[in-house]
Symmetry: C2
Subunit: 231 residues, 2 copies
Amino acid sequence: MSSCDTCVVRNRAICSGLDDAELVALNNIGRRRNVTAGEPLIWEDDDSLLVANVIEGVLKLTTSTEDGREQIVGVAYPSDFIGRPFGQTSSASVVALTDARVCVFSRNDFDRFARDHPELEHKLLERTLAELDRTRSWMMLLGRKNASEKIATFLLEMSDRLADSGCSAAFGPAKRFSLPFSRQQVADLLGLTIETVSRQFTKLKNDGVVELPSRREVEIVNRGALLALAG
Amino acid sequence: MSSCDTCVVRNRAICSGLDDAELVALNNIGRRRNVTAGEPLIWEDDDSLLVANVIEGVLKLTTSTEDGREQIVGVAYPSDFIGRPFGQTSSASVVALTDARVCVFSRNDFDRFARDHPELEHKLLERTLAELDRTRSWMMLLGRKNASEKIATFLLEMSDRLADSGCSAAFGPAKRFSLPFSRQQVADLLGLTIETVSRQFTKLKNDGVVELPSRREVEIVNRGALLALAG
DNA sequence: TTGCGTTTTTGATATCGGTCAAGGTGGGGG
DNA sequence: CCCCCACCTTGACCGATATCAAAAACGCAA
């Protein structure tokens, strides 16, 4: 096992509570793939390549209307599973936001492995339930929050999910971080236009709530104000 | 086994593909509860009452902001599971839209049962994944569709989910059906106000796309037009 | 460094849907 | 049978956000 694998396993074990031995076994039936920022993950590679495990990087799951409107319906971080096990087709397409490494499985391989490892399937269920919860609270945001509430909620979520090094949650929310999203992608995540996102960022900066050292960098100056705005 | 149980099992077996024997066994460790329309399902009944299986009726899952804005984040139909197995707390509250019968389980009972029946847990995973897919396509609606697209999508989804008798999907979409939602609830589902919902309904009626024989009744006159509007 | 293409910001204006307000409607209980 | 109350519809108006347009900032490569 390379040091890289060790890192992956450790990272996942810490972040997700998944069992080391099973993960190593799972790793062995998958194929590594590198994806560069902006590149889509093609599912129809061979017969049916349906499931993947994120090792490093951030990817977006999106759905689009025919006329080009896009909505980001999920974001996959290291240790997250993406795709749709057990035969059904997934409606979302997957694109890397940063350079990423993933471990991909054919539908058949993954299915068989999961059947043989109920404990893994149980973990997968727990994670899917957690993802469903996150998705539902995002529905609240999309349906009922206004632009400034959306931006504040987004920045708080980012500061919880991202940190300077690896496994953020253990060290509390990040005060300063680098967004994996362009302004347009933030808009697609929040159901806004790029112009509205830009104006809200500018307003938060002018109000002294955040600093924006560069386009992708954010520093939260007044977390209390953000929490109040997020509602 | 009473005729009622038979009905339940048959209904679920047809609709969801769940296995008869396991469902009967599961039924035996749960407690039946009747809920009248408008009544909430209280989770903290005894120690931790966290999971339920809908037998009959329709229920809504909602989240709310402190200032009273509400978003419906899910709708549970017969054979659906609601609640949050395996310890985590669910953020959504559950209220019956129609008179309903559910089968409730304590967290511990359900957890233990699921551990002993990997096949059931597998089914639960499949359903949770399907629910996640539905939820994600609803995010697209909330974030990127306008009022008339939302209403058209909603009516089509209702016609797919509801039919005059039991298990709709097998008989194709319903042309005429009875909404389990008030206008306000439709608004909470679509991220609109009640006034906007009302105006859009009126417009569809005036355009000859639907008939509205009464407040809760809908007849789809021109399904093609609805499909075009839904985008 | 300079130049160019892309992304972001800023400004002006339009519009969709929200808000406020005033009837209308229907169904259940007295 | 009628009344009342909750629910729904309609109208007038307003404001937040989208749209359209242009300038500015950034990043990369020559």
